[in-house]
């Protein structure tokens, strides 16, 4: 069952699930942030800080699990700068998000010196080989590390929280109409601040997955635009968690296929293959935005709130 010159579809699906994890986690976090009415363009910066933070913690403690939490903490800490600027100082969200990315790239490249060429402790397969070695379903369902399952579980949890819990209702209310939410007595900026920190933690963890499991080592500029792609996937997904998962998997599939084609030597020049993910992201954005004015974006997205009364 080979196609495209030796690419096995079972392995393709299994690898795309892993390769989608960083953007899936980051995009899920950003979906929550945007649902609360905040546009944080600093995902790339938070991811790379998470990638570095996770890597450093994992190397120093020897535990990849603690490393992932280190990445989440690093991402959340960086996002607090964004939260303070936009929620307390009411700074423009687009400009602050860009600043966060520029700053994060700089800090990671500064802090990462001395960590080049080190191998982080490995994040292994979660389930026993007996399951993972089953034909077809083994590699796809049972052959992954814990973060892959965690990312899928987070998709389900966020879907449930946003759709059917009180917390989700409050987040959506704040994002759709901050004036109304404020009139009901909700602390708009405080709720948004917490959403931003959550988004930062998710992006940081996604970044840590790149440096701890995907690559796995520390390289300058390791995220290579994954944060921006995560932002695009949130739009693609119309701010809905399950669609974020679909978007991330589609994108993961394209990335894996593209890499496989490079290795298999398909005759398509390498340069054109490596620009494919970005071009396809643009294409998807065009398809998703065409013909619709609002396409389900939270009504208060990108607007700051200042309680005048």
């Amino acid at each position: 069952m080979d196609f495209f010159g030796g690419i096995n579809p079972v392995i393709l699906i299994a690898t795309l699930m892993a390769s989608a994890v960083p953007i899936l986690l980051a995009a899920l976090g950003e979906a929550v942030v945007e649902r609360s009415g905040v546009l944080n363009l600093g995902v790339e910066g938070m991811m790379i800080i998470g990638a570095l933070g996770g890597f450093v913690v994992a190397v120093e403690t020897g535990s990849p699990v603690i490393g992932f939490f280190g990445g989440a903490v690093a991402g959340a800490l960086l996002s607090l700068i964004f939260a303070t600027l936009t929620q307390v100082f009411l700074a423009n969200q687009v400009a602050t998000g860009l600043a966060l990315t520029l700053f994060g790239l700089g800090v990671s490249s500064l802090g990462g010196q001395g960590y080049n060429g080190i191998k982080p402790p490995a994040t292994g397969q979660l389930l026993p080989d007996a399951l993972a070695d089953l034909p077809v379903v083994g590699p796809i369902l049972f052959g992954h590390d814990w973060v892959v399952y965690f990312s899928i579980a987070m998709t389900a949890v966020l879907w449930w929280v946003l759709k059917s819990t009180r917390v989700g209702l409050i987040i959506r209310a704040v994002g759709e109409s901050h004036e109304a939410a404020h009139a009901l007595g909700y602390k708009v900026n405080r709720i948004r601040l917490m959403c931003i920190a959550f988004g930062g933690a998710m992006a940081g963890m996604g970044g840590a997955y790149i440096s701890l499991a995907r690559v796995p080592q520390w390289v300058d500029g390791i995220t290579a635009g994954a944060g921006w792609i995560a932002l695009a996937i949130v739009v693609f997904a119309s701010w809905k968690p399950w669609r974020v998962l679909i978007g991330a998997y589609l994108f993961g599939g394209i990335t894996v296929l593209q890499l496989n084609l490079q290795v298999a030597g398909s005759g398509i020049p390498v340069e054109y293959l490596s620009m494919a993910p970005y071009l396809i992201t643009i294409l998807v954005l065009v398809i998703m935005s065409a013909g619709r004015k609002a396409n389900g974006a939270p009504a208060a997205l990108g607007q700051n709130f200042h309680a005048s009364r």
């Binding site: 363009l41 700068i81 303070t84 600027l85 100082f89 009411l90 700074a91 423009n92 687009v94 400009a95 602050t96 860009l98 600043a99 520029l102 700053f103 994060g104 790239l105 700089g106 800090v107 490249s109 500064l110 010196q113 290579a224 635009g225 921006w228 792609i229 932002l231 695009a232 739009v235 020049p269 340069e271 054109y272 490596s274 620009m275 970005y278 071009l279 992201t281 643009i282 954005l285 065009v286 935005s289 065409a290 013909g291 619709r292 004015k293 200042h306 005048s308």
Partner: protein, 359 residues
């Protein structure tokens, strides 16, 4: 407790005071960072901000300032026009690369001509290249309502792969003994962007930057299009009633900023950089975002801001060679500057009030 209160009108004082205050705060925070890294903060700050202007090697470094400030100013002015209208072109880096490739390709196609028309044609080609690259997000935005921030940014990565292809493939020096990179413009006088006055670091790119600043200032303050840009940014609804077409504004602003970024790339590649190589671009397209905000989106302010950021580049290089400060520290420093700017800016539109008792 302190409480924010909206000012009836933006404060004139803070409008002008924000950038210097932000620079000072960045020096303090940066100094703390440099101290944490084990360097003497006072020495580093002096090396970055004082030595290039008045230090031992100032006679050489002063010239470097305009070399770095030129492209930053050119790009930032274009970006600022869009930012003012609420149009976020953040892919200037890509437009810069494509402009450089277009300009260089035209020159290299007719190598080794001695015609003095080739350089002007290359300038036009460079601006055209940047314009084309910016038109992609512009048209997708006006036709399909696609987010211009994400598209223009994605195109940076695409431009970088095209650059890699150019320097290892279609623009590679046929006499380069297999090394990547195009022919060097320093040995191609007709197409070279040579210094007009070396002690000041003045080449055609610097001239273009200063002229563009004046023209952009006139456009914004004296021309109908400039009024429409400002109106669309401050009151989009009023702009629509006034008959401003959002689509035309997007095409105008994106096109202008793309063309200016392309120009900057073309001047850089034929001058200071010298050749198309896989990494001739050094992130000016992103730093220009900081320049635009530091200059308060005002063309004349941007000229000043361009020199301040150029100072961090030139002084930063000095600090890295003489004091061993890592290059990335300067990037962090520049990022901090934008944070402080955005934070202090709150004082332009709001004031802090001591809230007593109630509330």
């Amino acid at each position: 407790m302190l409480r924010l209160e909206k000012r009836p009108t933006p404060s004139k004082f803070w409008l002008y005071a924000t950038p210097p205050v932000a620079v000072v705060l960045t020096m303090i925070a940066g100094g703390i960072l440099f101290a944490l890294m084990g360097t003497n903060p006072f020495e580093v700050i002096r090396t970055i901000f004082w030595d290039p202007l008045f230090g031992e090697f100032a006679f050489y470094l002063r010239g470097q300032l305009l070399v770095k400030a030129g492209p930053l100013i050119l790009i930032a002015i274009g970006l600022a026009l869009g930012f003012r209208a609420g149009i976020w072109n953040i892919g200037a880096e890509g437009q810069y690369i494509i402009g450089a490739i277009f300009g260089a390709a035209v020159g290299l196609a007719v190598f080794p001509t001695e015609s003095r028309w080739i350089f002007p044609v290359m300038i036009v080609a460079g601006a055209f290249g940047g314009w084309v690259w910016a038109m992609i997000p512009a048209i997708l935005k006006t036709r399909f309502n696609t987010n211009e921030i994400l598209v223009s940014l994605m195109l940076v990565y695409v431009a970088e792969t095209i650059l890699a292809k150019a320097s290892t493939g279609f623009l590679k020096n046929p006499e380069g003994m297999g090394f990547p990179g195009s022919r060097n413009f320093s040995s191609y006088p007709a197409a070279q962007n040579a210094f007009l006055y070396e002690p000041l670091g003045l080449h055609w790119g610097g001239v273009a930057a200063l002229v563009t600043a004046v023209l952009a200032y006139i456009l914004l303050t004296r021309h109908q299009a400039g009024f429409q840009i400002r109106l669309a940014g401050q009151a989009p609804r009023a702009a629509r009633f006034h008959g401003v077409s959002p689509a035309r504004l997007v095409v105008l602003c994106m096109g202008l900023s793309g063309a200016l970024a392309g120009l900057a790339g073309m001047f850089e590649v034929t001058g200071p950089a010298g050749q198309i190589s896989i990494d001739f671009n050094t992130g000016y397209g992103f730093t220009a975002i900081i320049v635009a905000f530091l200059g308060r989106l005002n063309p004349l302010g941007i000229v000043l801001a361009g020199f301040i950021l150029a100072l961090t580049y030139v002084g930063g290089e000095m600090a890295s060679t003489s004091l061993g400060l890592p290059d990335a520290a300067i990037q962090v420093f520049q990022g901090m500057l934008l944070f402080f700017l955005l934070a202090v800016d709150v004082l332009t539109n709001y004031r802090f009030r001591l809230a007593v008792g109630a509330h």
